[in-house]
Assembly symmetry: C2
Homo-oligomer: 476 residues x 2
């Protein structure tokens, strides 16, 4: 295979690829808000259109309904694709998601989040550009490039694109388990492009992820919102209780205060400790990415360890309290605190929920409030680590060297993609690789999310090269 | 004066009065949100239209600009009206406000907050119906009733309607001081209808109000919102700091934890203590009004004392954190906690701000966070008490008896109308009376605000009777 020719073709077609991403970003496929559900379906249909253009066999799996914002909603379909069916080739499963995080211009976006805008530095700004529409469209662009160049496709490709990843991947675990011996039965390994480089310059392969347990802590009291002048001092205020409970969960330095939460965290051994010494990462990259110097740790290794191998707890916000600009003198009747714990080997989600529940029950009882408290874990996923000596990783490393002329770092990630572990376990311990397309400063889940044009285009080259390498590598 | 004829006329014209209120509610004159500023101006113009119909002399005072939501905005005009100029009559100043609290259907309103809807129990639902559009239109309806019946108007009436009451009454203090010897120079006493009955059945006259000091506590850290998976555990999270600071301010039982805050609270003497014993109020009325039984105190007297004569602190909410339904894994970059303290005699607003500032500076330093904290008192007003032996109160009590056939309770209020004290002080210690129109369960500042039709119509009768009584009462 003439890689130069392949790369030239991709360079020449980059405006087509960007236009395709623009169309996808224009569909606000927010899975976590009932009012956008129709757009999530539209996004799935848009992908099916490309599947049909490229001759990818597919089925759109209906996975039923769920409850959201007090409504019963149809879940977005999981798109299963199959491209090629040659028993002499390896079968690679690629996974991604077509739903996105919420975004409002008022949150502070410099541009309309649902319009892909390229700035003077070649950054493609828009919600979902990097997480995860760029990568999933990247795989489809790769297939198209092989077709246009009339090159034999090197592997059998299985595709699994879901529309609920940003909201707990509802329904997908059951489907993976069900199809493990069906649609997915010949899969040799799994590749997921749904994370980011550690920094902004050097590519990486990622072999570990934290899990997540996301909690809703509801405190309710009065039957309706009250005027603080008329009722302040005479009723138990849910916000006061919630502030006290929030303050018991985590210290300002990030240390979690829930008793027992650190008990199952894997001990740091010398082998693991050594891997941290060679990773290319500078505190300045963290400071650039967060646009601030308010890092907790003063060195790279502590920073990476607390991102990758220790649990953390973040308070995301409060639903039901006064959140608009200005001054409103309200006593909110019902407030829902949102927080999540990022979990690491060998923490167990059920045990985490149990520890949090027991602790908050006890702390709430101490307050002596007449309000009601309810804690719910609304989604959780286990942490995950993979074997980096596997041929899947070796092939990916070769591909990175060909496209970027550098050996990738082997990294873990602080984020959570629960489906990663499900694939590994359900497919009989098949190797799973995370092959990121975007950079560490892409701003997934925050305002002004972007994907650099160079990462998008080189990412398509990387995907094509990876499929070429994985097809030719010795597996024993 | 034939009061029965006057009351019959008002009863016969009640649909006209309700229609007038409907028009006013339809103008969303929210002063605390820049995007509604034009509507506040529209509301002022609507009132001027009625002034002109009724032949009220007026001037619309331009009081300059202010900063809100990062914009420089024109302040709503203060409408000064003058009706009658007979040196043989008393001159009564009535004050009210034509701006309203924010309201969104999504907050949980059963009906569109900007459409006056009457339910089967005769409740007129809509934002501003009770606070304070019903009362200010009530005064205008009263003038119209005297005109239609061709009765001599018993007093000279001065009117002062402002459009910034819900946002700190910006600009009005200067104007009152400036006009004390000008437009307001002949004023004999002041009457304000901008509060509520204690319960739902018995009218009252109100002689005391708490003050308010409203604070914005801003914690900022990262330059933008971050993904909690990628950055959790490596940056100081503003929400964590805010939760800790919020929890230091007030206990679940309402006790304020700021050192020194209770030092200037007037001691309870026996005279005051005795007044609480005769007030008609049942805990059940509190429970009905809050639609819950989560009261802090188990008896009426403690409840009223904590509403009226002790300071309280309420946490209203957080701007900048995740506040929508669903699950978003964000680390908010900048959060603005909103809280306020209701103050009582003899607390001083400047000292309150100083105590809060010193305390939060100290508590924030203890956290050891690299984030930045900023505390601002965005508006404050002193507490107020009036002399209830004054002829103004005696006349009002007679009017209540004529309309409602019951002696009014003498009450204080937990809320704040800072302008009350300004009138009293600027006009040379003229008596100020609070003469409420609505009931304790009207839901000002919360969802489903309402004014009962009977309160609105009887309120107009009360205003007319009060003006009659005050004209004829002996002043020495």
């Amino acid at each position: 295979m003439d890689l130069e020719k392949f790369y030239n073709h991709i360079d020449q077609n980059q405006d087509l690829y960007v236009q395709r991403l623009r169309e996808a970003v224009a569909i606000p496929s927010v899975s976590g808000d009932a009012s956008y559900r129709n757009d999530v379906f539209r996004m799935g249909d848009w992908l099916i259109g490309i599947f049909e253009e490229l001759g990818i066999n597919y089925k759109a799996e209906d996975i039923g309904t769920h409850e959201l914002d007090g409504q019963t909603l149809k879940l977005p379909k999981i798109l299963l694709g199959s491209y090629g069916n040659d028993p002499n080739k390896k079968t690679i499963l690629v996974y991604g998601h077509y739903d996105v995080q919420p975004a409002l211009k008022e949150d502070g976006w410099g541009t309309d989040p649902w319009e892909l805008v390229e700035d003077s530095q070649g950054r493609l700004l828009g919600r979902g550009s990097s997480d995860d529409k760029g990568p999933i469209i990247g795989w489809l662009n790769t297939i198209e490039a092989y077709q246009k160049l009339e090159l034999e496709f090197p592997v059998n490709l299985k595709i699994c694109f879901e529309g609920m990843e940003e909201s707990g991947s509802e329904g997908i675990d059951d489907l993976i388990v069900r199809e493990a011996k069906g649609y997915f039965k010949d899969v040799d390994c799994v590749t997921i492009s749904d994370n980011y480089w550690l920094g902004t310059t050097k590519p990486c392969l990622t072999y570990g992820l934290r899990g997540i347990s996301y909690f809703k802590l509801t405190i309710s009291g009065p039957g309706r919102d009250l005027h603080s002048g008329v009722f302040g001092g005479t009723v138990h205020e849910p916000m006061t209780d919630l502030a006290h409970l929030f303050s018991k969960l985590v210290k300002a330095d990030g240390h979690i205060l829930i008793p027992g939460i650190y008990d199952d965290v894997a001990k740091l051994d010398e082998t693991e400790s050594n891997t941290y010494k060679t990773i290319q990462f500078k505190q300045q990259e963290l400071h650039d990415a967060i646009d601030s110097d308010n890092s907790i740790h003063d060195n790279e290794i502590d920073t990476l360890m607390h991102r990758w191998r220790y649990p953390t707890l973040s308070l995301h916000g409060i639903e039901g309290a006064f959140s608009a600009p200005g001054a409103k003198t309200v006593i909110p009747a019902k407030v829902i605190g949102k927080f999540s714990i990022r979990t690491v080997p060998n923490m167990d989600p059920d045990k985490v929920t149990q520890l949090v529940t027991e602790f908050l029950d006890k702390e709430f009882a101490k307050l002596g409030s007449k309000n009601k408290m309810k804690l719910e874990c609304i989604h959780d996923g286990k942490p995950w680590v993979a074997n980096t000596d596997h041929w899947n990783y070796v092939a990916a490393a070769k591909a990175v060297e060909k496209v970027y002329h550098v050996k990738p770092d082997l990294t873990r990630e602080g984020g959570s993609i629960p489906v990663t572990l499900t694939f590994q376990e359900a497919l009989g311990d098949k190797n799973v690789l995370l092959l990121p397309m975007g950079r560490g400063d892409d701003g997934a889940h925050s305002i002004n999310e972007k994907l650099d044009r160079s990462n998008y285009i080189n990412g398509i080259k990387l995907f094509g090269t990876y499929l070429h390498e994985v097809a030719h590598i010795k597996t024993e």
